[in-house]
Amino acid sequence: MQLQRFKNVNAATLDEAISVLAAGSAMAVAGGTDVVSTLRAQILRDYPETIVNLKTIAPSLDYIREEGGMLKIGALTRVGDIAGNSIVYGKYTALAEAAHKTASPNVRELGTIGGNVCQLSRCWYFRKRDNRFDCIRKGGTLCNAVEGDNRYHSIFGDIMGCVCVNASDIAPALIALGATIVTTKREIEAEQFWDFAIPGSTILDVDEIITEIQVPEPNSDVKSAFVKFALRKSIDFPVVNCAAAIGGGVASICLNAVFVTPYRPTAAEEAIAGKPITEDNAEAAGEEAIKNSEPLSMNSWKIQIAKTMVKRAILSCQ
């Protein structure tokens, strides 16, 4: 596995980066923790001719600030900086906890929030080096996981036949907190941001770049939390994770790594909204969350995990 030759462009401005991306056969890189491994393993059908480095853009997109009742995070802000920010931890707890539980310390020191929400699927068929499995997500006709080893795959069905999962830890926190993703073209509600795309994981156009994440300040009676289950304490992508923001009679819950996109269990939200947070109520909401589950041949165990994550995320909002 090694990198192939490509042209590197250190973009000085957003406009320059956009123009290079619009020309085609180009890929944007921020922290590089996902892009570099993608290129090294050559998992995609086509290898980009150009890599556009976003870190050289001025003015910098690396900032965290509160402004107008809103948390604003530049797209190039490192995940580790979000995890360690006292304002984020104090008011937007689910986001800070999600950032803290992302990957490992060295990855958090490289990876950016913009890169994290745009990361490609972690499906091991999709990721197999040298494009060994030319699956639906790459434009092929078959999802190899459906009849294959699908122990980590979707428990809520497919989109266009693909049963991979979104593995971002930060995504469910942004959805639970009602965040907006600002790009060079538009503002997108976080819940609408992730969709089936080839080969990406978002609805971004090829020449569209995230510039900022905006999170509205929660009401004082809202508490948020993030929980994660993985096979190892560090490094791992989630088996299942869950973020919740509860208070003022409203509950917002988002699971991830259970479906092709982040998954909002609305029945669970309705089950807990306005009710006291107790063990029984949280348990009941967890049961509601998995009612529509459709496990594959090897992943029914994830249903139990998902139920537990919803329950524990709710209990953590006490």
């Binding site: 068929y125 990721r127 080893d149 190892r232 304490k233 560090s234 165990w301 139990q304 537990t308």
Partner: protein
């Protein structure tokens, strides 16, 4: 409760893909030994340690026979199993913490479990022909320090340190005056091919080479050669001793000269003091009985809602015969424990059932344990009964801790949830399945 022997069958399927889990030396033997004991103990509701102690033996013989036939004639009186068991039980507080399977729920809601496994202390068969080693010990004139030379060996924890310590002791020189100078050309092999049992295989050659080198040094110090007056005229090698890199007359210690000065005196006329040796086969009947033991204990908490197993304490006890370098032994103990627990809990290679293509050939998807994945303290205890077949009764530690730990964690999980998981690794999906939740 007491079984005279185990029937063990290996089934080796030849398929177009690799082994299911990473292979650790001795794992299948350890599994064949410990799994039946764990199952029998579970069925009887008895502590695993009790069944292990009742079935202690060697090569299918019980200890009465082994004691009578081998240990007594050899003059060995210590009971390795009893010593390591007592030390391990005390460290983990086994007698207070063991409980019938699936009966102890903690205040945090998790189920508490404690597990045990044991094995012989791994060492090379001293009569095997595939474990020869060679050593050259030289005290060249240039600086009077001892050089241990030979082909580089990759295996072992800090093995060169232990080798130099042995050579220093045998020569009577300071540790810092002995240097290991490995090279990569075959010929003199410092533990041929490296690998396990390095110290017990290497030390016979080391000791003999060092003793021959020492003898040659003392001969140079007392012989008149080409009319040259020796360093210690009128004395014989038997009149001299070496300590702290100084040669001295036993009857008059003030009559002394550093090793450096002794070899310098003859720099124009003589080869350096040198000793060579190759390890030889032992001719002790039953020397492969390996009477020293290792026992391991693991304490866990099982989250029955997720199937997660949290390791809260580990105790490893190894009877290594004679411990030359405690740091090296402890490294093998906790290193092996870490790998063994990780192996049994997480590690597996997964293949696409349609194509046979390996799916998790990277360290993201292959779940090698990280440093955070054992939360509790890990305690290493070293026992020295001196019943190994190497010099000083040495045996060594080696990688068998890793091989033996796998069944230790599965025994602990059974003790926690009262349900048996029948395959490795014991991943959360299997725990949940055993609990009827998946």
């Amino acid at each position: 409760m007491k079984t005279p022997s185990y029937s063990e069958t290996y089934i080796i399927p030849y398929v177009n893909k690799g082994p299911k889990t990473v292979y650790r030396h001795g794992m299948k033997e350890s599994g064949a030994l410990n799994l039946p004991i764990s199952v029998v103990a579970g069925e009887l509701g008895m502590p695993t340690t009790d069944i292990a102690e009742r079935n202690e033996g060697s090569h299918g013989d019980d200890m009465d026979y082994v004691n009578r036939r081998f240990k007594e004639p050899w003059g060995w009186t210590r009971d390795s199993m009893a010593e390591v068991m007592a030390a391990g039980k005390a460290a983990i507080d086994w007698d207070n913490k063991w409980h019938p399977p699936g009966t102890k729920q903690l205040a945090n809601g998790r189920m508490h479990g404690i597990g045990f496994s044991f094995n012989k202390q791994w060492q090379a068969d001293p009569n095997a022909e595939f474990f020869p080693s060679t050593a050259v010990v030289s005290i060249p004139r240039i600086d009077g320090t001892a050089k241990l030379i030979g082909r580089h060996a990759d295996g072992g924890w800090n093995s060169e340190t232990s080798w130099c310590q042995i050579v220093a002791d045998e020569l009577g020189m300071k540790y810092e005056d002995v240097e290991c100078r490995p090279f990569d050309y075959p010929g003199f092999d410092l533990k041929q091919g490296s690998g396990s049992s390095g110290l017990v295989s290497m030390s016979p050659a080391l000791v003999r080479a060092a003793r021959r080198c020492r003898q040659r040094l003392l001969e140079l110090a007392t012989e008149e050669i080409s009319g040259m007056r020796p360093a210690f005229p009128g004395l014989t090698p038997d009149d001299l001793d070496v300590k702290d890199s100084v040669v001295f007359e036993k009857a008059n210690p003030e009559n002394s000269l550093s090793v450096y000065r002794v070899v310098q005196l003859f720099w124009e006329w003589h080869e350096p003091a040198i000793g060579t040796s190759a390890s030889l086969k032992h001719d002790i009947e039953g020397a492969d009985r390996a009477l020293m033991r290792q026992v391991h204990f693991v304490e866990v908490e099982v989250d029955t809602e997720t199937g997660e197993v949290i390791v809260t304490k580990v105790v490893n006890v190894n009877d290594v015969g004679k411990c030359v370098t405690p740091e090296s032994v402890r490294a093998q103990q906790y290193g092996g424990a870490w790998m063994g627990i990780g192996n049994s809990r997480n590690e597996a290679v997964y293949y696409d059932p349609q194509t046979g293509v390996k799916l998790n050939d990277n360290l993201i998807d292959y779940k090698w344990f990280s440093m955070n994945d054992i939360q509790g303290p890990m305690e290493q205890i070293i026992v020295e009964t001196g019943m190994g077949y190497g010099p000083y009764g040495i045996c060594g530690c080696s990688e068998a801790v890793g091989a033996t730990m796998a069944t230790c964690t599965s025994d602990a999980i059974y003790n926690a949830i009262g349900k048996r998981i029948t395959s490795f690794p014991t991943t959360p999906d299997k725990v949940l399945k055993a609990l009827g939740k998946a």
